[in-house]
């Protein structure tokens, strides 16, 4: 964080703008795949529009001006005045990038470096000035306009409220005039915010010929009527040389407080239709309010009103042919109704503090539990019951709190359509991206940190996995490559897979390279998986790399390290000519761990239950000494390397005398080893506390926790521990000397 402090409102603006930019990006990428879907086009436009508006409100004029050009361009596309060309989409995507960069600038400095906008602004202007090729909109089916929303019944019972023009104006349609159908459904509290529909209608009338129909079916019985609430919906028809923007400008103040839909009637109304409308409406003015008797009939208690209003509006829609027809209209359907958000925004600090609190609660619980086993009296049973309950509630509370931190992985996956599109563009490859299980929920921390490793993996697959189209055809594969990104929950883990149907990893080359680098020796016999996993070795991350995996200086070892930091692991499986798949396993959450407590010497350590395969009692004769270098234990025919934990963690173990105890067999990175411990203690959930906060991240230790008695116990990072004592021969032999 910089010295510059953003006020809360600006932060909300930034957050919303970034969301808007995501929407725009997703939309633009969607456009590219097919032709311009009006829904998508409108989404994009709306996002740009709110960014422009917000930026203007908060005084970021550079952003607002920049977005204005973008908005104009989008508007032309949306209204069909301009073809959606790949070039235009490309340009828009770049403006999204620039806008995002501007948001970052605002976040860090509070200002925008407008000089960087110039180039793009020029390009936008150039594009705007260039001949816009109008899309020829397919002529829609002629449709009935006569069945206007207000049924004759309602109309005849109506009493006059407003004096509004008749639809007669429709007859005076001129060249360049557009007929707009506006559905205006105010929220109940619109009036309370000081917005007067009448003023809006007067404003609209200045723009062109206006016809207004009111739907008063929502008005409750008189005694249940709250004068401050708005029960009426309107349907307006506006004819004139009016742009959609002008209409929205009129509604600008109430956009938040109503459901608004502005639709253009493409087909000029036939004379007969107009006549029908006239017949309908000329008898009575179109704005009606039902007579008290009618109102009484339709009355609904106010309390149910909110819920009922929606359903009623829906009915209204389906029963009205006009509305329905307009809905299927091919282009330019505008829905301004804000999408209902099902998510809540919680500041991560709040959640974290809540989580800490729960952590304390878990600690208290384990403290109490300890007393439960020590106190000997008649109360013991009650105490035990109480404790059980406490434990259950604690866990429930804990789970619900953790839930707040869980977010769908789509937050991490969302960037990939764009990324794949960009990279494929650069490489000239054709790749279909399939995303599976994007609703799988993961911890926010995991989500934030998994992005970069995934980007590397996806890039690698595109760059080196999937072949050029020509070569694919030659190899009898479909021309378009396929990249699958999937997320699933398996037990306590999240499993993310990046699968391509590319060339696969060339084993021979890999082995050859590994031998050259001295990572393995020429006579090593390695399983296929072990060979493939060599690509994660730091030795391969240099510039000089195997030709089919490589090259931007970011090594796969970084990917593996990042994933390891998250407490996960990554594996690769590959088959020549068929494809490669990377499997990432991550813990569901980073905050709590199911731990096995073990005693080594005077210290208690904790290891993740997930990494433990089994525990065996070790006897003197079970231990085989390999040439005085390493000790192994034979478990059902498999030789397991024994790691004397006390020796590596405390440096005080004497192997020759202390050889009986428990061997905890653990698995990490596909290898099994036995950790020699003195005693197995409890199994319990522990809250992971960071060592880094006040100290430093230490390889082999993933964190610490506080035990029931208030002391600190270290949580062992099994993969890190194994890596430290197995891969580094020097340190192992150093320990040998020490033991002798």
């Amino acid at each position: 964080m910089s010295e510059f402090e953003l006020d809360e409102i600006t932060e909300i603006f930034l957050e919303e703008s970034l969301e808007g930019l995501d929407t725009m990006e997703t939309g633009l990428l969607g456009l590219e795949a097919g032709e311009a879907d009006p829904e998508i086009m409108n989404d994009i436009f709306r996002a740009a529009h709110s960014i422009k508006g917000g930026a203007g409100t908060f005084g970021f004029m550079d952003v607002s001006e920049f977005t204005h050009g973008v908005e104009t361009l989008l508007d032309e596309m949306r209204s069909g005045d301009r073809d959606v060309t790949p070039d235009a989409v490309q340009l828009l995507l770049r403006t999204v990038d620039r806008l995002r960069a501007m948001m970052d600038e605002i976040q860090s400095t509070g200002q925008v470096d407008a000089s960087q906008n110039e180039e793009l602004e020029k390009e936008i202007t150039t594009m705007l000035e260039s001949d816009s090729v109008a899309v020829t909109t397919p002529a829609p089916e002629p449709k009935q306009v006569s069945e206007n929303v207000a049924t004759e019944d309602e109309a005849s019972n109506g009493i006059e409220l407003l004096e509004v023009n008749n639809v007669e104006g429709a007859e005076k349609l001129q060249q360049g005039d557009t007929r707009w159908v506006i559905e205006f459904v105010p929220h109940m509290d619109m009036l309370q915010k000081g917005n007067d529909p009448l003023r809006i209608f007067k404003e609209l009338r200045k723009l062109g010929e206006l016809a207004v129909t009111a739907d008063s079916s929502e008005i409750p019985q008189l005694d249940a009527l709250v004068p401050e609430k708005c029960y009426i919906n309107w349907k307006l028809t506006l004819v004139g040389d009016v742009s959609e923007e002008q209409i929205y400008d009129v509604f600008d103040w109430v956009l938040e407080d109503c459901d608004l839909s502005v639709e253009e009637e493409l087909e000029w109304v036939s004379a007969e239709d107009i006549k029908a409308i006239k017949d309908d409406s000329s008898a009575q003015d179109e704005v009606k309010v039902k007579e008290p008797s009618e109102i009484a009939q339709n009355a609904t208690p106010v309390a149910e009103k909110e819920a009922a209003s929606k359903a009623t509006v829906k009915n209204e829609k389906s029963s009205s042919k006009t509305v329905k027809d307009e809905k299927v209209q091919p282009a330019k359907a505008v829905k301004a109704a804000p999408k209902e958000s099902t998510s809540i925004r919680v500041s991560i600090e709040k959640v974290d503090s809540l989580l800490n609190l729960v952590g304390e609660l878990v600690i208290t619980q384990s403290m109490l539990k300890r007393f439960g086993t020590e106190i000997k009296s008649e109360d013991l049973k009650d105490l035990g019951d109480g404790l059980t309950q406490l434990e259950r509630y604690t866990r429930e509370l804990q789970e619900s709190v953790m839930d707040i931190r869980m977010l769908p992985i789509s937050f991490a996956f969302n960037r990939f359509p764009r990324l794949v599109h960009d990279i494929c563009g650069k490489l000239g490859k054709k790749v279909d991206l399939e995303v599976v299980g994007e609703q799988t929920e993961v911890d926010k921390t995991v989500l934030e940190k998994i992005g970069d490793p995934l980007v590397h993996l996806v890039r690698n697959s595109l760059d080196h996995g999937i072949e050029e189209a020509g070569m694919r055809i030659e190899n009898g594969k479909p021309e378009v490559g396929k990249l699958t990104l999937s997320a699933t929950q398996e037990g306590g883990n999240i499993v993310i897979r990046v699968i391509d149907d590319g060339a696969g990893i060339n084993k021979e080359k890999l082995v050859q390279k590994a031998i050259e680098k001295g990572i393995i020796s020429a006579d090593d016999q390695l399983s296929d998986d072990r060979i493939h996993n060599l690509i994660f070795h730091p030795g391969f991350s240099t510039v000089d790399q195997v030709s089919d995996l490589s090259g931007r200086g970011v090594g796969m070892d970084v990917v593996r390290r990042n994933i390891k930091d998250l407490g996960g692991r990554v594996e690769v499986h590959s088959e020549i000519g068929v494809g490669t798949s990377f499997t990432i396993r991550l813990p569901l959450t980073l905050a709590i761990l199911d731990g096995q407590l073990v005693r080594v010497g005077d210290e208690t350590y904790i290891m993740s239950l997930l990494s433990i395969v089994e525990t065996v009692l070790l006897k003197e004769n079970d231990i085989n000494d390999i040439a005085g270098r390493a000790d192994v234990y034979q478990m059902r025919g498999e030789y397991i390397h024994i790691i004397w934990l006390k020796e590596i963690l405390q440096g005080t173990h004497d192997r020759s005398t202390n050889r009986e105890g428990l061997l905890v067999v653990v698995e990490a990175d596909g290898r099994r080893v036995g950790l020699f411990v003195d005693e197995l203690l409890d199994q319990q959930q522990v809250v992971i506390k960071n060592l880094e906060d006040n100290f430093k991240q230490i390889d082999g230790v993933s964190g610490a926790t506080i035990l029931g008695d208030g002391t600190v116990a270290l949580i062992l990072d099994i993969p890190g521990l194994l890596h430290g004592c197995l891969s580094d021969e020097a340190s192992v032999s150093g320990n040998e000397k020490h033991a002798a």
């Binding site: 600690i363 060592l691 006040n694 100290f695 390889d699």
Partner: protein, 173 residues
């Protein structure tokens, strides 16, 4: 706890701007001082959990109200003779800033003694001892009643870069 809260009677003579308050403590017969604004608290020595493969002067970590805090043995840090911890042995919990990161650490000392206020102009630069004697954690020297007080630069007490792995290299003994 001793007289940690006791304030030097001459305190009022100085303005805030050109002086600092120091908490002093005893270590192997000498008196040392740390800026009082850095001190978070003083507490007795509880069971310390050792961390593998860290320099010997890092005793381990303790639980400070739910936070994991490293504890360093100042005698070992200064290569002084070790003594058995006794009833006056305390942990002074301080905030230190090292390479832009703020950390809470505990330092084990023989016992706390006083709080003094020293004017900046009365604090001497530490003398040059030559390359053999490291002075990076010395801030300066001051005196109270002819007695020398060694003022410590807490930020340089621990070099976190020399601590990396739990299992790498030969185990410390």
């Amino acid at each position: 706890m001793q007289s940690a809260a006791e304030v030097n009677p001459t305190d009022e003579q100085y303005s805030e701007d050109d002086s600092d308050q120091y908490l002093t403590f005893k270590l192997a017969g000498e008196e040392y001082g740390v800026e009082i604004l850095r001190v978070q608290g003083i507490q007795g020595l509880q069971k310390v959990t050792t961390i593998p493969n860290t320099p010997e002067y890092i005793l381990g970590v303790i639980n400070l109200r739910g936070e994991i805090v490293p504890v360093i043995d100042l005698r070992k840090r200064f290569s002084l003779e070790s003594v058995e911890f006794n009833s006056t042995t305390v942990v002074i919990v301080v905030r230190m800033v090292n390479e832009g990161k703020e950390r809470t650490i505990g330092i084990v000392v023989d016992g706390v003694s006083e709080v003094y206020r020293f004017e900046h102009k009365n604090v001497q630069e530490p003398p040059e001892f030559g390359a053999k004697v490291s002075t990076e954690f010395l801030k300066g020297l001051a005196s109270v009643d002819e007695k020398m007080v060694i003022l410590l630069e807490i930020d340089h007490l621990v070099d976190f870069n020399e601590i990396t792995s739990a299992v790498d290299g030969s185990p410390s003994e």
